[in-house]
Amino acid sequence: MQNISKIYGNGFVANKDITFSVNEKEILALVGENGAGKTTLMKILFGMEQPQSGQIILEGKEVRFQNPIEAIAAGIGMVHQHFMQALSLTVAENVVLGIEPTKGLCFDMEKAVRMTQEVSDRYDLRVEARARICDLSIGQRQKVEIIKALVREARILVLDEPTAVLTPQETEELFEQIKILRENGHSIIFISHKLDEVMRLCDRVTVLRRGRIIGSEKTENLNERKISRMMVGRDVVTSIDKEPARSRETILECRDVVCLNENGRKAVNQISFNIHGGEILGIAGVEGNGQNELALAITGMGNYECGSIRVNGQEIKGRDIDQIRALGVAHISEDRMRMGSAGELSVKENLISDRMFKKEFRRGPFIDRKKVNDFADACIREYEIACDHRDEPIRMLSGGNMQKVIVAREFTSGANLIVANQPTRGVDIGTCDMIRRKLIDKTRKDGIGALLISADLNEVLEVSDRLLVFYKGKIAAYFENVKEVTEEELGEYMLGLKTMNQEQIREAAG
């Protein structure tokens, strides 16, 4: 792929002049932080997105994929992070979906089984072809996904964070199979955050950062530390001046919290920490290490199975979300379209969605229009929301302005704990800056506590006072003073190269 550039409609540059190659019989690692542009790059390769410039050259010929079907036909296979499978169907049926063999009128199950078996024998991907997908383990389901690509004669196989969902044993097995594939002449692009795996498995590593290629080197010339430095470097340091936090009373108290994800696995595993008034506690970590589940549990959107979460001294288990909000929790959710707003409703209505029953916005049984309008106008002014009018449907706003509406609502809710889950994802720099400054302001001036979850290291390092690092649902590190943390160090904890001892981590609950 040469000089690939992709700029999204909102002006977000996902890939800038990226050139990289993968050779026959090679396992290439594509590493980079969240938002570095790996996924976009792979979507372009797989025909799911079209680049603004650049070309893809496959075996000396320039190709252009309008959709995944063309990419598949050209011999590119993709194993998505979320498996593309129908649960109640059998392995063989899933494998041949779209290219089903037929015998007369009927679907030829025997042939489908044979096709599946053939591939699974050749590459040692052992799966029972007649089993239903829902009876399989996650590791087996991944094999099905690989078989699916191979049955379609894929020569280049893209694996998008394949080990994220696997157990150590399953990971070992997967690596063996990937090596077999290499021996059979396939090229593999392996996307991962886990540097030990990359070092063990891959021949070459290409590092992406902020949409650009940072480097591409043979694995033997690299070590984990080097890669992590390439990945997690900060290019622009926008430092924000802030007074030191004055610790006050404890606002949030989490003790041994355990959350399950939808697969019944422990997404958050016995986590304990405290947040005090007047400070921002940051949580850094590669996405999918339990941060999201924790945020949902604290705000009442999700469940937690064990342990306790206390907000201002009150246990939140069994309380409704409005009660939890009344205890003093505000929530900036990670997904602003699905959870944080209703697109058809006006800016004004989105601003009061959590407080329309409150006395200050009511006159008798009615909503006090004047007060709401004044409030909305004040928010629009203070948070610099660019909209025509307070009655404009929020879906017409840009992403950044939509986020400003949500932030305005949550910051003015009177809560003394703000759970900010990826508050600046996908918004422009100006909005980012404003949201961060407001967050610091709120904690310093009003003495509220904040939990900041972010995949953006710049953000967590600049904004938070104390810092936790999450890895596989556990706290991998705790830093009392963020100013002392280097990003190299942080990278090593985030990627699981190092873990602090229990003693040090326990201080987080102090």
């Binding site: 979320h82 129908a86 649960l87 169907l89 979906l97 779209g98 009128l105 355990v258 064990c306």
Partner: protein, 318 residues
Amino acid sequence: MLETYWNVEWIGSFLFSVIRISTPLIFAALGACFTKKAGLLNMALESMMLVGALCGVLASAASQSLFLGFLGAVAGAVAIAGIICYCAFFLKTDLYLTSISINLAASGGTVFILYLVCGQKSTSAGILKSLTIPKLTIPLIEKIPVLGAAVSGHNVLTYVAFFCVFLVYFLLKKTRIGLRIKSVGENPHAAESVGISVRRIQTISFLISGVFCGCAGAFMSMGYVSWFARDMLAGRGFISMSATNISNASPFLSMLSAMMFGLSQAIANALQITSAPAELVSALPYIMTILLVMLFALIRIGRRRRKMAKLAGAIQEE
């Protein structure tokens, strides 16, 4: 009192009426299996059947050919399915809203056409010389007491309905289209990722649904009775849809639940000739449907709750 009912002849004829009443429900429930498997609720079964019934009467009266009449019924129902697909999948109107408004249009539109053809708005009986699909006696079984009376002498379409249960099972389980329908219903992204057009599969599932509803419609106006009457379906489409939903779109279970609803209707019919108030008896099948649907929902929720409790319990123990 009991003696009048509890005798061999009565039981035989009662079972006969259960099967007869269940026939259109089975057809429509089978049709709904396809859309349900494709992940959609077909709330327009009612209008598909109604239009099918009218088209059957019109086509058979016009052509005096049974085959063309039947074909007309199927074509009418499929046409309705096509209109729904166009509106819902191409013009992007909400599917619920589309189905409901098509139902309303069909109930008025059929009366409109009926009036144009027959000059009156309630029934085609005695005006249109439409044909009926013949009955079939089964030579040997006919002689067996109770069983013979119950299963022999039905309309051909009744036997077809039961045969269709196997056909649907075969189509869903053993053919390519069945496989694709199921994959679209379970994970549309997966289907899309291997080049299957979700919209096309959903359209096909609706059209197949239409074919079955056409059969049901033909049975209603060319078998169950021999004329078309306004609103002659009286909610059967929704009852059939419930039958499919209860049974999670399995063809055999759908047939059984359709027959369960048929049974409650047959009981109501049997009670009509007693001293029980006729109006209340007529309401019975509908009330039974509501109660059964709620009962099954309760069972489903209870099962899910127990499963969740078990999962949480396992974690607590750790």
